[in-house]
C-alpha cells in the first residue's frame, strides 16, 4: 500500500463519480455552475476528511452490529457544522445549494469510504484517502459544471466567456442537461478504459 497510490486513486482510477458511480444526486444537482460545484466539493471534502479520521480513530471500539448508525451520527455531526458555518460565512452559496447541504449526510461516497476504508485502516491513511476521494469528487463536479455553465450559460465562474452573439444551449443548465452531460462523461470514461486495456 503506497502512500501516493492511496492519495491519487480517487482522482482517476477509483474516481467516486466517474468510476464508482457514487454520490450522483449532488453531482447532478449542483453542477449547474462552477461556483456551486466547488462549494459543494469543498463541503463534502471537509466532511469526508473529518469523518474518515474520527471513524478510523474509533474503529476498534465500535461494535460490528451497530457500526452504520454510529458512522451516520459522526457524519451528521460534521454536516451540521458545515451547514452552520456555510450559513454564517457564505449565505449566498448556502442558499443556492439549498437542501443539498444537509443531504451530504446521505452522500454515499462518505458512508462508502467509512465502511470500505476508514473502518479498516489507520488514521493517517484514512486521512489521505479522504483527501484524495474528496478532491476526486470535487474534480468530477467541476468538470461537469464547466461544460454545463460554459455551454448552457456562456459563462465561467459567473464571467461571460463568449461574445454577445453566442446563443447558450439553455437545456444544459436545466435538469435534463445534468443527466445528459453525466451520461456522456460516464460513456467517455468507459471508452477510455476499454482503449487503455486494449493497448
Amino acid at each position: 500500500m503506497s502512500l501516493a497510490n492511496e492519495f491519487t486513486k480517487g482522482f482517476y482510477k477509483e474516481n467516486p463519480v466517474f468510476k464508482l458511480a457514487l454520490g450522483l444526486c449532488p453531482t447532478l444537482a449542483v453542477s449547474n455552475s462552477v461556483q456551486n460545484a466547488i462549494g459543494m466539493g469543498a463541503a463534502a471534502t471537509f466532511v469526508l476528511l473529518c469523518s474518515n479520521v474520527i471513524i478510523s480513530l474509533i474503529r476498534n471500539g465500535v461494535p460490528k452490529k451497530i457500526r452504520i448508525p454510529i458512522y451516520i451520527v459522526v457524519i451528521a455531526t460534521f454536516v451540521t457544522i458545515v451547514d452552520l458555518v456555510m450559513a454564517g460565512f457564505a449565505p449566498s452559496l448556502h442558499k443556492s445549494l439549498g437542501i443539498f447541504v444537509p443531504l451530504i449526510v446521505v452522500n454515499c461516497i462518505i458512508l462508502g469510504r467509512a465502511e470500505a476504508y476508514a473502518g479498516k485502516n489507520s488514521v493517517f491513511y484514512s486521512f489521505i484517502d479522504g483527501l484524495g476521494m474528496g478532491i476526486g469528487f470535487t474534480f468530477a463536479l467541476t468538470v461537469i459544471a464547466i461544460v454545463r455553465e460554459l455551454f448552457g450559460d456562456g459563462k465561467l465562474w459567473g464571467i461571460p466567456i463568449f461574445s454577445a452573439n453566442f446563443e447558450p444551449v439553455l437545456l444544459l443548465i436545466l435538469p435534463p442537461g445534468a443527466f445528459l452531460t453525466l451520461g456522456l462523461f460516464l460513456g467517455l470514461f468507459n471508452w477510455l478504459d476499454t482503449k487503455r486495456s486494449a493497448a
Binding site: C25, V73, I99, G183, L184, L188, N190
Partner: protein, 210 residues
Amino acid sequence: MGLNEIFIIAISAIFINNFVLSRFLGICPYIGVSKNIDSAVGMGMAVIFVMTLASMVTWLIDAYMLRPTTSNIFYIIFSAKEPPDLTYLKTIAFILVIASLVQFVEMVVQKVSPSLYKSLGIFLPLITTNCAILGVALLNLDENFNFIKSIVHGVAAGIGFTLALVLMAGIREKLEMAPIPKALKGIPIAFLMAGLMSIAFLGFSGLKVQ
C-alpha cells in the same frame, strides 16, 4: 386549507417537480434498481411507504421536539424558563429517525407479512441512504407545510419516484436488446435515457396549477 391546495401539492410533487427528474433526489436507487419492472415496482412501493411514515414522524419531531414553541416536549418536561431552540439538530435527528424507522418497518413487515417481506424486504435497508427520504423531510420544513400537507407531499413524492422508476425500468428492459455503443452500455445509457425523460417531464412545468 382546501382540497384544492392539497391537489396542487400532489400534482407538483408527482409531475412538475418530480423528485428524480427535476430535483435529483434518489438517483442511486433510480439507476441501481431499474433493471427490471418487478423490482422497480417493489422498490417504489417500499419508498412510498417509508416516505409517508417519514414525513409524519419527522414533522411531529420538528414541531414538538425541535422548534422553540410552548408545546416543545423538553420545555414542558423540564419546565425551562423559555422554549429551547433545537432546530440546528434537525439533520442528525432526522437521519437517525429515518434509519431506525426503516429498521423498525423491516422488522414489523417480516413478522406480520412474510410474503410482503419477501418482495419488499431486500429494498428496505437500501432506503436509509436514499436521499429522497431525508429530502422530503427537509423540503416539508422549507415549505412550512402543516401535518396533513406533509403527509400528502410525502405520498405524492413517493408516487412521483415510483412513476419515474417504473418508466425507466420499462425502457431499460427494451434497451437490453438494443444495439448501443459498447462504451455506453449500462449506466451511461441509463443517464442519457433519464435526460430524455427529464426533457419530457419539463413539459409539465407548463401546467399552471395556481
